[in-house]
Each structure stands twice: as C-alpha cells, then as structure tokens.
Symmetry: C2
Subunit: 148 residues, 2 copies
C-alpha cells in the first residue's frame, strides 16, 4: 500500500468517525486532519496553520485551534507534551522519572531505581544519539483516582 492510499484510508476512517460523533465533516476539518495525518514531524498549531493555508488561504488560526481541540476530545489526536501550558520546574538532581496525573496535572518524582531502565531492542532509527531515557508514567494520583 502506498503512502497516498494509506492516507486516503485514514481520511475515510476520519469521515466515519465524524459522522459517528455527529461532527460536521467540513472541508476545513478534512484538510486540517489530512495535514496532521500526513505529517511525521509533530507539528505545532502554527505549523499546521501554515500548511493548511496553502490549500485554504482564507483559513483562520482560530479554526485551527478549535479543530485541534475537537480532534483531541474525540481521541483522533494527542499532544506530545501534555504539560505544555506553563513550564514545570524540577530542582531534583538525582536520576528520576515522573508520575504525571492526567486529571490534576500534578507531577511526582519516581526514583530511577524503582523502575527498570528501558533498553532499545536494536539501535535507534535514523542514527539518533540517545543521551537520556526519561519515563513519564501517565495515570491518576491517589486523590484523583478516589474521586473518579
């Protein structure tokens, strides 16, 4: 299957999901989703905006942001950086990982000894040179688990 065929399959699937969710399958949303699905570079909203503008010059930034939010609510899209709203500082200089509560956005430290160090099965792709493995455990802290 070529990349183009694969992309069109995803677009079909996208249109089905829209229908199922009661979302209007507008030209804008389709172009935005196609840009996202075709991109391998984890673009920022700004970058999506630029690419979509090549096809729909009159598109507005607000539409990009609104669509992104809608797609995330539908589970069609994720963020690489769930804690991107503001910087979160960490003065702990010992090796450690993080327990991130997806409900209240709290972050706890997890000392590195408490979890097995991840090891690549084979060398990393594209000659990537690893310096540090950082594990984010996404889940619910005791407080939020109790509420839910």
């Amino acid at each position: 299957m070529t990349d183009g065929q694969h992309l069109e399959r995803r677009m079909d699937w996208f249109r089905q999901r829209c229908k199922r969710a009661g979302l209007a399958c507008t030209h804008q949303r389709q172009v935005i989703y196609r840009v996202l699905a075709a991109s391998e570079s984890h673009p920022s909203p700004e970058s999506v905006y630029e690419r979509v503008r090549m096809e729909i010059p009159s598109i507005s930034v607000a539409t990009i942001y609104k669509s992104i939010r809608t797609f995330m609510d539908q589970g069609l899209l994720q963020q690489v950086n769930p804690l991107h709203e503001a910087a979160r500082l960490d003065a702990n200089l010992e090796p450690h990982h993080h327990l991130v509560c997806t409900a209240c956005k709290s972050v706890e430290d997890l000392p590195a000894e408490l979890i097995e160090a991840p090891r690549p099965v084979r060398p990393l792709p594209n000659g990537f040179r690893a310096r540090e493995f950082h594990i984010e455990v996404l889940g619910l802290c005791a407080r939020c688990a109790g509420k839910g």
Copy 2:
C-alpha cells in the same frame, strides 16, 4: 538529617556554585532557589512567584523568569516539560514513544516494539494508578549530532 538541615546543605552548595560560576549571590536568587529546592510539586514560574512574594513582596515576575533561566543554564534546574513552548501534535494512534532532539526540538516516533516496556520494580509510590508508560528518549538527531 532533618529536611531543614538538608535544605541548608543545598543552599551552601548553591552559594558555592554561584561563586564558581561568577554569579552574584543575591538575596532574590537565594530565596528563589530555596523555594525551588524545598518544593516537591514541580511548580510553575507563577507558583514560584507567589511563594517568593511571601518573603520578598517587591519581587517582580521578570526576576523570577530571569533567575529560572540562569539556573537552568547552570544545570541547577531542569524542566519537566522541555517542549512546553507550543503544543506538539501527534496523530499517530499506534503505541509508540518519542525521540526528542534537545538541540532542534524535533520529535520522531519510536514504535513501541523497538524498546523494552519498562516495569516497576515494586508497586508505584503513594497509590499512583498507572495507565500508560511513555518514554522520551532525549538526545541528538543525526543532523544535530553531525553539526556538534
């Protein structure tokens, strides 16, 4: 050793590091660093600002941000979320991790099969309920490694 003693040790160490780096050891910087070192909650700059203001009501937000940047440049401080400037979107719905280049901030996908799944050595602390393990491999992409 009590927490208070531990904190004072860190403050001594901080003052040494400042001296060694040629940084003025101002009252503001000491209070800001103490707040950071004493905090376990990975505070945002805003939150640091509020706590520092209890001790130095005339402190300005700009000073907080400048100090944070200085501390990070010195390796005294890290960010939990290195990619927090703008949202980075991810339409890949297969299980995968991320290769994050710390130089150019590019992100590549790493299929989950290519790395051993991390396993906690014992149950996670504080009753944290894990839903997903997400590995960020920090390092240099081939392009940036070539430049350096």
